[in-house]
């Protein structure tokens, strides 16, 4: 079985919850672990950016932005025309699926490092870049005569939400500090996989505890939450081919395309689209897409790409 050890912790949390024996974590630990992961990934990417950064990153980032904007444009008509969801709900969910999940990215990183597959070390830059365009496109898609935005507050949430701020901030700190960042690595580097395992244990519990909501929202949303990652993965693979990145980078871009946000986008959408059903988007991204990617998607994308490209 191609399941990574960190993903096994996700399964453990999920099974414990299904058996109605949830593993209780201290309140606030989930938030603390999220902050740790964002800083660790950002810092590592920043150090690499200082070492390997070049002008090519500019056009590569531009392609990644276009890719991020394309995903919600594909998701929106499926939700609106086929699912019959309201314009606001369709736009909100589409924005979640255009953005990325830092935890899914972390699992993909763990898999690559466990298999010793090289990837572009500045990849966290693309993760930070991918967080933003989907939110903007989602807001454009939701725009109607009756829908008005609080522009200042919305822009604040798009660019300064916790996910973007911590990731981009740590990236800059790592880039600026260079070798000095090594002082922090015993904490943010060596402990990374242990913290990720703890985080996934809690994620297993959280996502399984929301399973009942799927009954309420219907089977369409579950089907969408499985088919959209596959579409995103194919486009992510295509984007990686355009960028001309390594095999590991291709696996990461495919995983990013398949992932859906449940941290940055919900926060932005709660402010920008208060009428949107937040439960619907989070249930789709957290309860279906995240487990699908961790347990099914990442092993498949990794094996498939390794077989195809090597």
């Amino acid at each position: 079985m191609d399941l990574d050890i960190v993903a096994a912790f996700f399964l453990m949390g999920a099974i414990a919850q299904l058996l109605k024996a949830p593993i209780k974590m201290p309140a606030g630990l989930y938030q603390s672990l999220t902050i740790f992961l964002l800083i660790a990934i950002g810092l590592k990417g920043g150090i690499a950016l200082g070492q390997y950064g070049n002008i090519d990153l500019l056009w590569q980032s531009l392609i990644v932005i276009i890719f991020g904007a394309l995903l919600p444009l594909i998701a929106f008509p499926i939700l609106r025309k086929i699912g019959g969801l309201s314009q606001v709900d369709s736009a909100s969910i589409a924005a979640h699926y255009g953005s990325v999940s830092i935890a899914t990215f972390a699992v993909a990183l763990a898999v690559l490092e466990a298999r010793d597959i090289y990837y572009e070390p500045y990849f966290p830059l693309f993760v930070a870049v991918l967080e933003i365009p989907a939110i903007a496109i989602g807001l454009l898609l939701a725009r109607s005569k009756s829908q008005t935005f609080q522009l200042k507050k919305t822009l604040h949430e798009i660019f300064l939400n916790q996910g973007v701020l911590l990731l981009a901030g740590s990236l800059l700190v790592g880039w600026w500090a260079g070798e000095q960042s090594q002082k922090l690595m015993p904490f943010f580097g060596d402990l990374f996989y242990g913290v990720l395992a703890l985080f996934l244990l809690e994620m297993g519990r959280v996502s399984t505890s929301r399973l009942n909501l799927l009954k309420e929202y219907g089977s369409f949303i579950a089907s969408f939450a499985v088919v959209m990652p596959l579409i995103g993965a194919v486009l992510g693979f295509a984007c990686a081919q355009v960028l001309g990145i390594s095999m590991g980078g291709t696996i990461l871009m495919t995983t990013l395309g398949a992932s859906a946000s449940y941290i940055a986008v919900p926060a932005a959408m709660a402010v920008a689209l208060p009428n949107a059903n937040q439960g619907l988007s989070i249930t789709a991204s957290l309860t279906v897409t995240f487990p699908f990617n961790v347990l099914v998607g990442i092993p498949l994308y990794t094996s498939g790409i390794v077989k195809y490209l090597s």
């Binding site: 009954k215 219907g218 499985v226 099914v296 498949l300 498939g304």
Partner: protein
């Protein structure tokens, strides 16, 4: 408006099943896709049966429900 929900769900299930089988045939991990197809099938059928029995119960006259 035509109800596209069921065709979409069936198409998703078929895609997963076909993709999973094809992936298995070339020696890649496809059981996850096949399992997902099975879970979605159960959800699609199960939730429709539940919803149909609930609406049948709602249509039933109140005195018949008591019996």
């Amino acid at each position: 408006m035509t109800d596209l929900l069921l065709p979409f769900e069936l198409a998703t299930i078929s895609l997963l099943a076909v993709l999973g089988s094809s992936v298995l045939l070339v020696g890649l991990p496809g059981w996850g896709l096949i399992s997902t197809a099975l879970i979605l099938t159960c959800m699609t059928v199960g939730l429709r049966i539940t919803s149909a029995s609930q609406s049948a119960l709602e249509r039933m006259p109140l005195n018949a429900q008591r019996v």
